[in-house]
């Protein structure tokens, strides 16, 4: 069954999520991926929104991470302090992030391209990204992959990945045993080497070669001997995405 790259990303992201775990989500693809997980393998995935929605039954895609759909039939409509405190206390297993730039250690830039004082492109800033990147146990980055986005050096480090490498999150004062877990793009799925904390290729999407991924990465990506192919979205996943989760094609396109 044919699918577009966004549908594949949604499917791949949903499969990272586990039943009975919690996930801190932003608008767009993260919500779609989380709802997809809830309707397939993870019915008890607890979805948390930064404005205070905890465990809603999301009736339709929220436009804002604070809108009323983020606490529709929720177990709790709390406050930002409450959910951020939950994250700081270790209750949030996964967090979704996006970025304009990422480096080999999974550090992210969502603030500016060019100099901060005189930016070529001004981006929205951290929002909750720095908080999620600091406090969730594992973060999942969803973004497009090309050499302008996968860079050797960020123009601005908005959200911490593994910073300068092994031990440097802890040295900076960030919570122990946290950090980026997966990076999912239109080309493949990446993870992080447990020793060096540098980005490693986990799988290439169907029809994408390892060389395609490497050519679209501006830093040295670790390539294992054997790189599997990302599982395709199932027919049921595609049906859910198209008919139930995003019938107006606001996110999926």
């Amino acid at each position: 069954m044919a699918y577009n790259p966004t549908e594949l990303m949604a499917s791949a992201a949903s499969r990272v999520l586990e039943d009975g775990k919690s996930v801190f989500v932003g608008t767009g693809l993260p919500i779609i991926a989380s709802m997809l997980a809830q309707r397939t393998h993870a019915p008890n995935l607890l979805v948390v929104f930064e404005a205070g929605g905890v465990g809603p039954k999301i009736p339709a895609i929220p436009i804002s991470v604070g809108d009323s759909r983020t606490f529709h039939k929720a177990v709790m409509a709390a406050s930002m302090d409450y959910v951020m405190s939950c994250a700081q206390l270790g209750h949030i297993d996964y967090g979704f992030l996006g970025a304009a730039q990422i480096d080999a250690y999974g550090n992210l830039n969502t603030t500016c391209i060019g100099q901060h004082e005189n930016p070529k492109t001004r981006l929205p800033g951290s929002g909750g990204a720095n908080d999620l990147g600091s406090l969730c146990w594992r973060t999942i980055v969803l973004m497009r992959q090309d050499t302008r986005k996968f860079v050797e050096k960020l123009d601005y480090l908005t959200t911490p990945g593994y910073l300068l490498g092994p031990g440097s999150r802890e040295k900076a004062g960030l919570p122990r045993n946290t950090g980026p877990y997966r990076v999912i793009t239109q080309l493949g799925v990446m993870g992080f080497d447990p020793e060096s904390k540098r980005m490693v290729l986990v799988s290439t999407h169907p029809g994408v070669s390892v060389k395609d991924v490497v050519d679209n990465t501006g830093f040295k990506l670790i390539i294992p001997d054997h790189v599997p192919v990302t599982e395709m979205p199932s027919a049921e996943e595609l049906r859910l995405l198209r008919e139930e989760l995003d019938p107006n094609k606001i996110v999926i396109g």
């Binding site: 404005a51 436009i63 302090d81 700081q88 603030t111 951290s126 908080d131 911490p160 040295k171 004062g173």
Partner: protein, 323 residues
């Protein structure tokens, strides 16, 4: 601000006297906001933001404000476009969440017309207000450390005397004036909010001047019948203004959804300075008050549609979605 100075402010400039604070929004804005001040808006993104307060400040041609960009979206965008705001403390701004980036906000920053004077995160902003609300100079937090976001913030990192680990101290923020839009309140300013309160409980305590806009004025007895629903007590409040639909085009949870048709119009027009002028000349400058604005944006018919949308009785259309 030193917490001792904040205490002096609260003791002398806020009153524990139960007094009628009802006034027209025009009066509240002229009385409690001023050029060059630090502004913070209640709500979050397009949710429960007092757009009525925003439009009134534009009409009164306030200038040189600093705004708390605490996931500030349409509010900061029109305030920048109308030259009211020229500095932003930025957690999230210059974007419209799922709708994409803000043409007007980006243009102003990239052209140097608006300065980003600090960077921080959403939780950091929340905790800045929370520190203020607790009468503390700062709150500790385990965020921002190791990043440029920290370097551009006003926080400090110290060694925690208990654990020996580094910890971030986020300074209190006491905005000069803030607007919070609520579901209902009495004439004294005892307010109820339905759904998530986001960071408004803390912001209400932190703000040196607090203007409440409300969908509805209710009796004191109604408030006192369920005191556990009160989110903001009267002694934090300086003015109470009744403004139904006062957060349009945003979402007032459980009452009306955001007006994506209006947002699409703004996003299209704000691509150029001419378009911005067109928008302001149509919806803001010539308008007497918010009721007239509501009529202009579609009146009862549009509001009925947004109410049905909120109740999930109509499918959402997203005219800004190009795909």
């Amino acid at each position: 601000m030193d917490p001792d100075d904040a205490r002096d402010w609260m003791a002398t400039k806020k009153s524990r006297m139960l007094t009628d604070k009802l006034m027209p929004l025009e009066e509240a804005v002229s009385k409690f906001t001023y050029d060059g001040g630090y502004l913070a808006m209640g709500g979050f993104g397009h949710i429960r933001v007092s757009m009525a307060g925003i439009y009134e400040m534009i009409r009164q041609r306030r200038r040189n404000l600093v705004i708390a960009g605490k996931t500030a979206v349409h509010d900061v965008d029109v305030l920048i476009a109308s030259s009211v705001v020229d500095r932003v403390e930025c957690a999230y701004a210059f974007g419209h969440e799922l709708r994409g980036l803000s043409p007007a906000g980006r243009r102003a920053v990239e052209g140097g017309k608006v300065k980003v004077v600090a960077e921080l995160s959403n939780a950091a902003f929340q905790w800045r207000f929370k520190a203020a609300s607790m009468g503390l100079p700062w709150l500790p937090a385990r965020i921002m450390m190791g990043t440029d976001t920290f370097r551009y913030s006003s926080s400090k990192v110290v060694e925690d005397p208990y654990t020996g680990k580094p910890i971030c101290l986020i300074p209190a923020c006491y905005p000069d004036f803030a607007f919070i839009h609520v579901h209902r309140c009495d004439k004294y300013g005892n307010c109820q909010i339905d759904g998530t309160v986001i960071e408004d409980k803390e912001l209400a305590m932190a703000a040196k001047r607090l203007i409440i806009t409300t969908e509805e004025i209710v009796s004191e007895d109604e408030i006192r019948a369920s005191p556990d629903r009160t989110v903001i007590p009267f002694y934090m409040v300086d003015a109470v203004c009744e403004v139904p639909y006062g957060c349009h085009p945003g979402n007032m949870p459980l009452l009306y959804y955001s007006d994506e048709e209006h947002m699409a119009e703004w996003l299209a027009l704000s691509r150029t300075e001419d378009g911005v002028k067109q928008y302001l000349d149509k919806y803001v400058y010539p308008v007497e008050d918010f009721a007239e604005y509501v009529a202009l944006v579609g009146g009862e018919k549009k509001m009925g549609y947004l109410r049905r949308l909120e109740r999930l009785e109509e499918p959402l259309s997203a005219p800004w979605a190009k795909r």
